[in-house]
Amino acid sequence: MTRTAVLGQLLLNGVVAGGIYSLVAVGFALIYRAVRFFNFAHGAVVALGAFVGYAVLHYTNGGVVLSAFAAGCAGSLAGVAIDRVAFRPLRRRGSPALVYLLASFGSFIVLQSVLALAFGDRPLLVQAASPSRGFHVGIGVITATQVFVVAAAACATALVHVLLGRTRLGLALRATADDTIGARAVGIDPERMIAVAFAIGSFIAGMGGMLIALETRLEPTMGMPLMLKAITASVIGGAGSTSGAILGGMLIGVAENLGVAWVSAGWKDAIAFGLLVIFLLLRPSGILATRDNVRTASGGS
């Protein structure tokens, strides 16, 4: 293969990886908008979706679409349940940001270990998906599953956009995120809006987990790396912005895969987390900056 052909294929791989990261990041951003903390538990919800999808695919004859839907529902339930049990009491008390962060980390660990205890910690392959035939699209080869994953990411984002921008529910969600007290004054229940954000965000996460499992494989620990990439995508794009999440996801997907042209594949994570650290230090509000003030009193801005 020539240099250009290799770069073309790497670019294509990057777009697929970016699609996967975006899928996780969109739901993450939706939840961040509502609650204003990094919900690490989101990663475990992705893994839960993958396992539920896997189980439905194997024990029923429902096919991929039904199992993805079931995975989404399971994710949704888990997300809302985690919010009820772990975060809602903290909101009542008005806890500092660190407490939320640790509670979400704890929830992540609990859900991940429950998955490992229930399904075992050996990697599983989804039989239905492999082997998937590849076809040429000008600059390289892409498989049907990969097209499906990227298409699903695009659909999920489009739906979230329509929901946020064109519906009354979306308006209420945005109002709560921007000004909780103001939203309450006009009769919006912030707790209900937070539950809705968790339900939708975790649905996308669960469904995304199932689709990611089609493309790669399932492990209880698959959530953490995806979560970290989603957080990175979210910070790079602009925390809380759903379009920023897509932008950031695509950016790190492409950057880490194109990087393979120069350094070995082991450095992929270093490229992504290097971008995270660089952005946090130089432009912590991300590319599509929100009004969120991310510095301390002494830090300016």
């Binding site: 500092p96 205890l117 650290v277 002494s298």
Partner: protein, 292 residues
């Protein structure tokens, strides 16, 4: 008997790191989620100088601690301007970066294989490699770290730090350069992590990217918080409980595939329960007002 000394040594080594982390997280209120990275950097620096330059492990520990403090100063200087949750994320990201470099810079770190055959500590003609002897060394190091943290907490410097935690803007109006205070304590915390890290390297006589992972960073924060944020004895309590508790699980006789996950489940549930019931930890005091 050696098993007992091994456990106690592990407790002491973890405690040295948590004593430092407590100064950062508990006293100054700066969430560092990448503290194990400083221990890792230090352990690699100590191991590499001992292996390639042939310096004595004692010098290796000094070099490791110095390198960790330098890393702490740099990380602190660039990241302490961030709001607390972004700071937590930035330090976590730096921890991931360090882990990734340790895994991939194979010409230097030998990657996942790790560095083995490290020399053990000696004192004159005697080797300090035996479990009771190394326990004595680590207990002394812990005592020194503890006394040091006591002095820091009792000093005017410590008082300003606690005040910054409660209300940074108020302290700025008194003309204090709060960033300098924060960077200093971050450096001190990293130095203690470095001391614990390089001691661990010479205790185990082997280090790899798995010796200090990002999950260890979270475990360290859990230790500090469980013991009690900002209390001096808290980090010791937290480290001892969380190092010894999994050992009890060992005697319950869970199957090998289940035990690590059962342990994780307990850690996670403990963390959530602690945040819900007692976010200031066992020995921690309730802060005067909501810290936001």
């Amino acid at each position: 008997m050696n098993y007992l000394f091994h456990l106690l040594t592990s407790c002491c080594l973890y405690s040295i790191i948590t004593v430092g982390l407590n100064l950062v997280v508990g006293m100054a209120g700066l969430p560092s989620f990448g503290h194990a990275a400083f221990a890792a950097v230090s352990s690699y620096a100590a191991a590499l100088t001992a292996l390639h330059l042939g310096v004595s492990p004692w010098i290796g520990i000094l070099i490791g601690t110095a390198v960790a403090s330098l890393a702490g100063a740099v990380v602190g200087a660039v990241s302490l301007r961030l709001r607390e949750d972004y700071l937590a994320l930035a330090t976590f990201g730096i921890g991931l970066l360090v882990a990734s470099v340790a895994r991939n810079w194979t010409s230097m770190t030998r990657g996942p294989l790790g560095l083995g055959n490290l020399p053990t500590l000696t004192l004159g003609p005697c080797s300090l490699g035996s479990p009771p002897a190394f326990f004595a060394v680590s207990a002394l190091a812990l005592l020194a770290s503890f006394l040091f943290s006591y002095c820091v907490a009792a000093s005017p410097f410590g008082r300003v730090l606690r005040a910054i935690r409660e209300d940074e803007i108020a302290i700025m109006t008194y003309g204090k350069n709060t960033t300098r205070y924060k960077v200093t304590i971050f450096t001190v915390g990293a130095a203690l992590a470095g001391l614990g890290g390089s001691l661990t390297a010479f205790y185990v006589q082997y280090i790899s990217p798995d010796t200090f992972t990002v999950m260890d960073s979270v475990l360290l924060v859990l230790m500090v918080i469980l013991g009690g944020m900002g209390s001096l004895g808290g980090p010791l309590l937290g480290a001892f409980v969380l190092v010894l508790a999994p050992e009890i699980l060992r005697f319950v006789g869970l199957p090998a595939g289940i035990a690590p996950w059962a342990r994780q489940l307990i850690y996670g549930a403990l963390l959530v329960a602690l945040m819900l019931r007692r976010p200031q930890g066992v020995l921690g005091r309730v802060s005067s007002g909501p810290v936001r």
